[in-house]
C-alpha cells in the first residue's frame, strides 16, 4: 500500500497565499496514500504552521526567497521537510505558549501545534543555510 514512490518537492515564493498551494498537493498525495480525512487535516495544519514560519520568520516575506517543501514516505511514515532561506533560530529559546503568562498572547503557538499534530518535529540548520523543519507522522494502513 505505502509504496516508497509517493514523493514530491515543491518550491514556492514567500507569500502566505502559496500555503494553500502546498495544501492542495499535500492533500492530494495523502489521499492517494489512503490517509483518512481527519488525519489529513492534522498533517495539513502542521505543514501550514511550518510553511507559515518559513515565509514569515525565515524568509521575512522576501519574495525572492523560496520555501522548499519535500514530501516522502519511509516505511509507513510520512516525512515532510520544510526549508527556508532565513537566518535560523533557536527553538529552545521560544516561550512556552502554555505558560499562564502567554495564554492570551496573539502569537507563539505554531511550534506547539506542529509538535502535537505530528509524531516527531525536528528543527535543524540546513547546510545551505536557513532552517529546515522535519515533520514525521506514522500513517495507519488504509
Amino acid at each position: 500500500m505505502y509504496s516508497e514512490r509517493h514523493e514530491f518537492h515543491l518550491s514556492i515564493g514567500s507569500r502566505f497565499e502559496n500555503i494553500d498551494l502546498v495544501q492542495v498537493v499535500l492533500n492530494d498525495t495523502l489521499e492517494a496514500l489512503g490517509v483518512e480525512e481527519g488525519e489529513r487535516h492534522r498533517i495539513d495544519l502542521a505543514v501550514r504552521e511550518a510553511v507559515a514560519n518559513a515565509v514569515k520568520h525565515g524568509n521575512a516575506q522576501d519574495p525572492d526567497k523560496k520555501v522548499h517543501v519535500d514530501f516522502g514516505v519511509e516505511g509507513g511514515t510520512v516525512v515532510i521537510r520544510v526549508r527556508d532561506e532565513g537566518a535560523g533560530f533557536d527553538p529552545q529559546a521560544v516561550a512556552d505558549p502554555l505558560d499562564e503568562s502567554q495564554k492570551l498572547s496573539p502569537d507563539g503557538r505554531g511550534l506547539l501545534y506542529m509538535r502535537r499534530l505530528m509524531d516527531e518535529v525536528t528543527h535543524m540548520e540546513h547546510p545551505a543555510g536557513g532552517t529546515e523543519v522535519m515533520l514525521k507522522k506514522r500513517i495507519a494502513s488504509a
Partner: protein, 111 residues
C-alpha cells in the same frame, strides 16, 4: 474566508465561513471585528459553524478579538464550534477561555 454580520438584541453576530489562516482569513476576521466595534458594537457572537480550518494565526486572532472586546467592557462568545476547531483550541488550552454555545437563542440570551 467570508464574513457576514447580523445584529440581534444589541449583539453583533459575525458568521465566518472558510479558513481563518495566516495572511488572509485572520486579516478578514480582524477587519470585521474592527468594523463592528467602530459601528458601536459591544457584544460579539462569532458563529464558527462553517469554518473549516483555523491555524495558529487564526487562533491568535480569536484571542486578540477576545481581549479587545473584553477590554472595552463587552463580551465575546462563540456559536457553533466544529470539532476540528475545538481540537485546535484544546491543544493550546484555550477552550476554557471562550464561552461556547450550539444554540443561537441561548447564546443571545446569555449576553
Amino acid at each position: 474566508m467570508k464574513v457576514t454580520a447580523r445584529h440581534h438584541d444589541g449583539v453583533t453576530i459575525l458568521e465566518l465561513k472558510g479558513k481563518i489562516t495566516i495572511g488572509v482569513g485572520d486579516v478578514q476576521l480582524r477587519e470585521a471585528v474592527t468594523e463592528a466595534l467602530q459601528a458601536g458594537a459591544k457584544n460579539i457572537l462569532l458563529d464558527l459553524g462553517a469554518v473549516t480550518t483555523v491555524d495558529s494565526s487564526g487562533v491568535g486572532e480569536l484571542v486578540s478579538t477576545y481581549t479587545t472586546v473584553t477590554n472595552r467592557g463587552g463580551k465575546l462568545k462563540i456559536l457553533n464550534l466544529p470539532s476540528r476547531v475545538a481540537d485546535v483550541l484544546q491543544i493550546t488550552q484555550l477552550i476554557t477561555v471562550f464561552e461556547v454555545f450550539d444554540n443561537e437563542a441561548e447564546a443571545l440570551a446569555s449576553f
